[in-house]
Assembly symmetry: C2
Homo-oligomer: 296 residues x 2
């Protein structure tokens, strides 16, 4: 792969939330395209994008947005991938590169591929970056800096197209890796989906406590719970889709987690101090590995 | 309660890790005492405290450390509370204030009270502050700033003694609240103990994965897992004690958590998108409450 900065004539952004809105800002600040068209499903969001002014044109439908585009970036909740692909498929010019930013990859490939013409190059991608904020206002052009972006092109995908998409993400400051979609989905189930599920769940458990104790939990949240609430404040629609679309890997990892939790619970009940200390000492090593890997 | 800064003739610090070491620095920077003696169980730690030089004298045993002290602060793993109280009890002068910093309160009261003379004022306390680092080197005098400190004095505790301990923590920059020990233990089970248990558990699950996927989890940890590893890097010995000593509240909350998790798991398995979205939308509100309460 070369590392030279790509340049596009016309980019179409389908979906302009945190990710699409951040990429739009990168494209502008890095001068990656002559012209950027954006489309968002909600009229309210389209109006807001116009006000924010970080793209050239806001289209009223996806088909119009992709006309004459040489790059199309789809950044929508995973469950909307199929209908987006169906809407844009017939309007894509031969040779157009289509990429996406979905957090689950095999499901997106299954949903979009059937609707994309054979002369279009589909390079599925996942920038591992985000905040708990959503919508076009939340975007900023440093979101992807120093973050990984994983591409999961099916075998036989055009190498030049892969290289161009990779270089676009490198221009956004990301480090790019390539792997198979199923492998991506398993790794992300562990690093991201299960942690989010646990955070949603513990915060949900608290939401159902009596009001008085809930107030106190909020008041004294600094002890660990606060970190979970930040994670659990992520986009509900996006996460709903992730869990359903990556069901297999999530349920597999959740099974292992629950077994381990039952063992810990048993150790607590039976005062097994040694088992607890051994477990908690082991987990420190992983933190060290992460610090060594410069991800902390 | 008054808010005036207390002044002690002689302070004895029993246990000088992150908390004791931070408090020692506060006492020095805020000039809260004429003289500070410290004792730590490990000879290596005692030598390090001498090198760090933030106390006046390092004693070789707890009994010597507390002689003539008007304030004794016990900051040791909760399971060591009883033996510390037993060691210092006979050497405490009448009128001495004894406080502690344990993360569990009823168990500490049960462990220490029987060994403390009746003319000593015991004011159990818990500064809700910490980092994932341990030992006297990790301490710093801003650790308690803007944090809550909860005091759980049993009924009948001398009001002046409570007020003096409260003002010491206020001098460290903390906000002080008073509640019953069982109530503290339940609130902390939710805000801190269960989140830590989940973090230890998910990081433990990862620790047992095959090496190749473990490497990748570390590499792509930015997506949520990283926050858990920070929590799971906390002091193993301290947390071992917390779970065992606050068993009842922890198991009660863990039961609720596991029920809720089973429901979420079922929603994922059966593609119940509405249930997931409803749940994830609710959890956002708690985050807003915390931001409103200025704890985020």
């Amino acid at each position: 792969m070369t590392t030279e900065q790509p340049h596009f004539n016309r980019v179409a952004l389908i979906g302009v939330g945190l990710i699409g809105g951040s990429l739009a800002r990168v494209i502008r600040s890095q001068k990656l395209a002559d012209h950027v068209t954006a489309y968002s499903r909600r009229a309210k969001t389209r109006n807001r994008i116009k006000e924010l002014g970080f793209v050239d044109v806001v289209a009223d439908d996806a088909a119009t947005a992709v006309a004459d585009a040489d790059l199309v970036v789809v950044s929508v909740p995973v469950s909307a991938s199929a209908s987006v692909a169906e809407a844009i498929g017939p309007h894509l010019a031969p040779g157009t590169i289509v990429t996406d930013t979905g957090s689950v990859k095999q499901a997106v490939i299954d949903a979009m591929s059937p609707h994309l013409p054979s002369q279009v190059h589909f390079v599925p991608g996942h920038p591992i970056a985000g905040t708990e904020h959503t919508g076009p206002d939340a975007g900023f052009d440093q979101l992807f800096e120093g973050r990984w972006c994983v591409l999961t092109p099916p075998e036989g995908t055009d190498a030049t197209a892969i290289s161009i998409v990779a270089n676009m993400w490198r221009s956004a400051g990301s480090m790019v890796e390539q792997m198979s979609a199923p492998h991506h989905d398993m790794v992300l189930a562990i690093t991201s989906h299960i942690p989010h599920l646990l955070a949603f769940n513990i915060v949900g458990t608290v939401a159902e406590l009596e009001d008085q104790i809930k107030l106190e939990v909020v008041k004294y949240s600094a002890g660990g719970f606060r970190d979970f609430t930040r994670i659990a404040a992520s986009d509900p629609e996006m996460w709903r889709d992730i869990f359903i679309e990556n069901k297999e890997a999530v349920l597999e990892m959740l099974g292992r987690f629950s077994e381990d939790l039952a063992a810990l619970q048993r150790a607590i009940r039976w005062d097994d101090a040694d088992a607890l200390e051994t477990k908690f000492t082991k987990t420190r090593d992983i933190r060290r590995d992460i610090i060594d890997a410069k991800q902390a």
